[in-house]
């Protein structure tokens, strides 16, 4: 093999790298000690990723005729593309560039400067050896299916679906509940403008229901995802509604005639009733009811069928079975939302034990004009209007015992509750907070308004809510025990009603969701984005985007923004008609293949075909994802993993162990 001409570029990253690693020494060392391996130039520069740094590389490629480039800087996950593009601009195949990490793997994790500098040298040496074996590659182009799957019909999913559908591309929306709308459909007012949640949400829901480009699949769940970006095959389980949607007109007679009522634990948060054949709320989209099989008298006793008798269009079908529907999509947006923290876990706050302690969702339903009390605020007995109300912020958030994170919305939500409680009942309202966090547009102004309304703000984490009265005036009240940290005193405040502003927590099944779509979760359980600041809606898995609270707790404007952002990314991809994929693929050398078929079973994507006639295996590059398991498993060494070949990895090992430098330190190498 002809000697390659290699350029080595060592980045200071300001003082991020240069503070711990002697970068000048490293560059000098590379130029001297790796010269015999083909390093013709080694430079250090303040910021390699800046346009001047990139120009430096481009100039060297053109003037010195470099055939390989090694950049020692940050993680390849951050800037691999930057430097590959720079090489491409200078006429060098981008895959002949290798980025080795001396920031995340050296300067940021080590303190000993000598050891860090030595390690940086070893890492560069590994990169140089590896890059010699690199090949010029071309990205694979695959066609992209124009349809998109949106999982979750809350506000984030709705926004994403509408944006894509309005751009003229087909969307499948899969929602687990009988209606889309998500948590927002349960709320009464939205902060800080206090406009009615239903008034702004329902038109969007109707748009989704009527949009010619949106196929709405409610009462359904995604069961399986196969394929890869551009070409996913998704299996959706359509749960039986026991209602023929093609015949149902949504007239509601079945709901009227159904003789059985059960407590609505989902939509009404356990405060109201619904029929066994039901739509969760009057504005539901789609407006077809479902029959709750668990509670239906017909399914339990075999008689009743009242709904069927009265249905004018004969749409009730007790024989309906679940269906599995296959859909092909090019990209997927996950907007699966959140669950509400169960405040029962904070035993000292008494939720579930003390009748008049309510969760935030219960309060939302109480104040909702369409809720169980028609918008009136009562105690649990359903008649008494509270005269004093306590609202406890951070219930389950910012607490080591439950969740470390801030749930983002509770401050504003609690202030909204304070305003609504005062407006509806004229009660004295006490808000117990740790800190007030109102950073968004018009949020702090709302806080000031609530203060002016006379809400008592008490700074301190509530120790206990109890019904144990110490005097006659506390009798029958709930007592909030708290240290008021602004005056440094313990206080006992008797109230009629306590509202817990519960944390937002990841969906119960977030692990299954992450696995199914090939994503990962943070230690808290939220889905991880590609980059926390610069790429908040993309994920590590190409073609899968996240939006809304699935990514972390956020309010409605932020969810909408993320839904729209994810949609913009999807639309941009669809309009390119094809997607460039990393050419990291396996190929079988048919001369060497012995036809043992060991690789056939190793492949999780069934990408390896076996030719019975010639008794050899072949990799289908469109299905291969490049994991390389078959390469490692082939006993004949017949499979090559492009981009991660045996030669590349073995050479990198030699380089990392500094076998390539001129003056071999023989004592480190146990060669006789």
């Amino acid at each position: 093999m002809a000697q390659e001409k290699i350029g080595v570029y060592v980045c200071h990253c300001g003082s991020n790298i240069a503070g711990t690693v002697d970068v000048e020494d490293v560059a000098k060392w590379a130029a001297e000690q790796l010269h015999h391996r083909g390093v013709v130039v080694a430079r250090d520069y303040k910021f390699m990723c800046s346009s001047l740094g990139q120009e430096l590389i481009e100039k060297d490629i053109k003037q010195l005729g470099l055939t390989r480039v090694v950049v020692a800087a940050c993680s390849p996950h951050l800037h691999e593309r930057t430097f590959r593009t720079a090489c491409k601009n200078a006429g060098l195949n981008p895959y002949l560039c290798e980025l080795v990490s001396i920031r995340e793997q050296v300067s940021w994790v080590h303190t000993d400067k000598v050891a860090a500098t030595e390690k940086a040298k070893a890492i560069i040496s590994g990169g140089v050896e590896r890059v010699i074996w690199h090949e010029a590659l071309e990205p694979l182009k695959v066609p992209i299916h124009p349809a998109t799957l949106v999982v979750g019909g809350g506000i984030a999913g709705i926004q994403a679906a509408l944006e894509i559908a309005d751009a003229g591309f087909p969307v499948y929306m899969v929602e687990r509940e009988p209606s889309i709308g998500g948590h927002m459909a349960q709320f009464d007012k939205t902060f800080p403008t206090l406009d009615c949640s239903a008034c702004i949400l329902t038109p969007k829901m109707v748009d989704v229901g009527n949009h010619p480009n949106i196929t709405l699949m409610t009462w359904s769940e995604v069961m399986r995802v196969d394929g890869y970006v551009g070409n996913f095959q998704v299996t959706v389980r359509q749960k039986p509604r026991y209602v023929k949607t093609e015949l149902c007109t949504g007239c509601g007679i079945c709901q009227e005639k159904c003789p059985k009522k059960v407590i609505d634990e989902v939509f009404e948060a356990g405060l109201g009733y619904r029929k066994v054949v039901y739509t969760p709320f009057p504005q539901a989209v789609p407006n077809y009811p479902v029959i709750d099989r668990e509670n239906c008298t017909y399914f339990i006793k075999g008689t009743c069928k009242a709904c069927q008798k009265f249905c004018p269009t004969e749409a009730i079908d007790f024989e309906q079975k679940e269906e599995f529907i296959q859909i092909d999509v090019g990209q997927i947006i996950l907007a699966t939302g959140y669950d509400l923290f169960d405040p029962r876990k904070i035993a000292q706050y008494g939720y579930g034990r003390l009748a008049n302690v309510f969760s935030s969702l219960e309060f939302e339903r109480f104040t909702n004009a369409a809720g169980p009390t028609g918008g009136k605020l009562y105690l649990r007995d359903g008649v008494t209007v509270p005269k004093t109300v306590a609202i406890i912020h951070c219930s389950g958030s910012r607490d080591k015992n439950y969740n470390n994170y801030c749930s983002n919305i509770c401050c504003m939500q609690s202030l909204k509750f304070a305003h609504l409680a005062k407006e509806k009942t004229g009660a004295e309202v006490y808000n117990f907070y740790i800190d007030i966090r109102t950073p968004a547009k018009a949020y702090d102004e709302f806080y000031q308004r609530v203060l002016e309304e006379g809400t008592h703000m008490i700074r301190g984490r509530v120790a206990e809510v109890t019904d144990a009265a110490r005097g006659t005036k506390d009798e029958g009240k709930l007592i909030v025990q708290v240290e008021d940290t602004l005056i440094g005193k313990q206080r006992r405040i008797p109230v009629d009603m306590v509202i817990l502003s519960a944390a937002l927590v990841p969906r119960k099944d977030h692990h299954e969701t992450a696995r199914m779509f090939g994503l990962s979760c943070s230690s808290d359980g939220w889905l991880i984005e590609r980059h926390p600041k610069l790429d908040p809606v993309a994920t590590m898995t190409e073609g899968i985007f996240i939006a809304g609270c699935a990514q972390g707790p956020k309010d409605i404007p932020a969810s909408v923004a993320q839904g729209a952002a994810a949609a913009a990314r999807v639309i941009g991809k669809i309009q390119q008609h094809e997607i460039a994929m990393e050419p990291v693929r396996a190929t079988v050398d048919q001369e060497k293949c012995s036809g043992c078929r060991i690789c056939n079973n190793l492949c999780p994507f069934n990408a390896i075909l076996f030719h019975e006639d010639r008794m050899v295996s072949e990799v289908n590059p469109a299905l291969c994802q490049g994991c390389g398991t078959c390469v490692a498993g082939c006993p004949a060494g017949a499979i090559t993993g492009t981009g991660f070949s045996n030669e590349q990895v073995l050479a990198q090992i030699d380089g990392l162990l500094l076998h390539n430098i001129k003056h071999l330190e023989m004592e480190a190498v146990p060669v006789p």
């Binding site: 990490s101 793997q105 994790v109 992450a514 979760c521 190793l602 076998h659």
Partner: protein, 159 residues
């Protein structure tokens, strides 16, 4: 750090979980021993047993294999294959007279920089306690096994 034995450890990481765990350890400025040098693979399933032997033969005192948690593999289930190979390699190393404790398997997700840091530190101490790796110095075929590839032997190059 003066007289103490400083082992050299080669770490294999998967592109999706453990390499990102290492990135995360960096971003969070966690600290670990500088003895480990990482190689990025697309998947722990890519780990060819040859890589491990090559590293140990070439002067590494220990090898750390890291991948996604079981069930979290970016390529469905390939980390299970890495686990099988790991168990076989430990047995093979033992038969070759090398302490199997020089090979370690760690699962670390992209969010687990702290676990990655911890495991590196523990492993460095473990290998430090074992001391330098001494291969058997005679026997059939050992010369080829430890030979440095010809293309890597230093020679003068005229530019």
């Amino acid at each position: 750090m003066s007289d103490q034995f400083e082992p050299v450890i080669i770490g294999f990481t998967c592109n999706w979980c453990s390499y990102r765990a290492a990135d995360m350890a960096g971003t969070a400025r966690m600290k670990y021993a500088p003895n480990v040098r990482l190689i990025r693979l697309m998947c722990s399933g890519r780990l060819d047993p040859t890589f491990v032997l090559k590293a140990l033969a070439g002067g590494a005192d220990g090898v750390m294999i890291t991948g996604c948690h079981p069930g979290d593999c970016h390529y469905v289930s390939q980390n299970y294959k890495a686990m099988r190979r790991f168990l076989l390699m430990r047995r093979t190393l033992k038969q070759m007279g090398v302490e199997p404790e020089r090979l370690k398997l760690v699962w670390a997700s992209a969010a687990e920089g702290a676990i990655f840091t911890d495991e590196v530190n523990k492993f460095v101490e473990q290998v430090r306690a074992l001391g330098s790796l001494h291969w058997p110095t005679s026997g059939e075929g050992y010369e080829q096994m430890f030979a440095i590839p010809e293309h890597m032997i230093a020679k003068e190059v005229t530019p």
